[in-house]
Symmetry: C2
DNA sequence: CCGGCATGAGTAACATGTTACCCATGAGCG
DNA sequence: CGCTCATGGGTAACATGTTACTCATGCCGG
């Protein structure tokens, strides 16, 4: 039980506002970096020791991760990482295709001018990050843009759902440039969406969002 | 802070398999029964005392409820109940309409015979409960049926999402018979869905599910 | 050689102790 | 009379102690 030989440098991201939050990020990073591998049983004790904090926030973070489907907690045994399967990716894309295009339509028709301005600004931020090939700025902006569109459509719960699903797909390793698109190309896919939204053209916004997601789906599936 | 005058009998449901789980159920029941009201700040200490357990499972349960959007936790202040708004109901129905009909189609086309048999059995359970006007059996069966259809479609994540959303709407008080439909009527709405699924007729299953959800939506909205 | 069973290590779940924080209150000053 | 700010109560968040469970291991009888 619990060989625990490796499991190198797991660090606490200092930007988290609670330790439980930090644990979530640390574990996600650890999985993405291959430091935490599937089929090995870890324990709350180990992780707490490793991170230099107590078991309470570790447990809280793990419970959240379990709900997100990233890990499985086995009573009195420990927890294991459950890597997302190809099948999961397809399901997630399916959900996003069902929810985001209609929301884009609503964002176009019933968003306020202020909200539209914010959406435009976020697209500009994506453009700036893309021009500098700065992934650290680009992906958060991408995420914000989708989130903003969802919230502008008056659907906060949908936004939360999508945000959570995105978290899962992000574990496969960010859909980096290696996936086949440059940052500039991805930015270009978003532009028609935003243009349609700002023009309050609901149908066009919905179609553009669908096109974008389908392109993403194609990449994720082939790139698995 | 925390007048705490009333707040009568909150009991721990014994059928929960962890105390944190029991807390979730107790709070939901308390809200539905009007024992926990919005705009009053409660604390983990109070609730733990009241339930006769320690603060740890209470905290865990509250964190889950916060994630579900039922309560708001204010750091170092306590938590308040956030009752679902009419607007939330509309959003939830919208999500279900986007996700469940396509899933019903898939359940029809690619479910195994075993899965279909289970679905049929669940519908029979609904029928039995309806004939005896037994809400305590009926609603769980209704829930199971929707869940089974989702899982049969090969979409466990979608099933989890819907299950969680249903939990939220259930807080308004179960859509009781008072909502305008008898249990028999609700059962009757499900029958064409199951019939289509068992016949492996995807299009019909999708349409039937859509019809059912639209009827539900109409009731929930007018009955608010 | 094999299958039931005691045993013990390791753990999640729960209980309790501690800390640092937020904010309402009200006294003191302008 | 209004404004600032010290103060203290109450809290979430975190740390640590305790309990009861799960399961692998190995002994023993068949």
């Amino acid at each position: 039980m619990g060989n625990m030989l490796l499991m190198p440098e797991l660090a606490l991201p200092p930007e988290a506002q609670s330790l439980a939050d930090a644990v979530v990020k640390a574990v996600r990073h650890g999985v993405a970096a291959g430091e935490l591998v599937p089929d090995v049983t870890y324990s709350v004790y180990q992780l707490a020791d490793l991170l230099g904090i107590s078991r309470s926030p570790v447990r809280e973070g793990l419970l959240r991760l379990e709900e997100a489907g990233l890990i499985e907690i086995r009573r009195n045994r420990g927890f294991r990482v459950l890597p997302p399967q190809a099948h999961d990716i397809e399901e997630i894309i399916g959900i996003r295709l069902a929810l985001e295009p209609p929301a884009a339509r609503l964002a176009a028709t019933l968003g306020t001018d202020d909200q539209h301005a914010l959406i435009g600004a976020t697209l500009a931020a994506m453009a700036a990050a893309a021009s500098q090939d700065d992934e650290n700025s680009f992906w958060p902006a991408d995420r914000s843009l989708h989130d903003l569109l969802l919230r502008t459509s008056g659907r906060p719960r949908t936004a939360t759902i999508i945000e959570r699903l995105r978290t899962t797909t992000a574990l496969l390793g960010p859909p980096t440039t290696a996936s086949g698109r440059t940052l500039a190309q991805i930015h270009a896919e978003h532009e028609p969406i935003v243009t349609a939204v700002l023009a309050r053209n609901g149908a066009a916004a919905e179609a553009a969002m669908r096109t974008h997601l389908e392109a993403t789906a194609h990449l994720l599936v082939t790139n698995l």
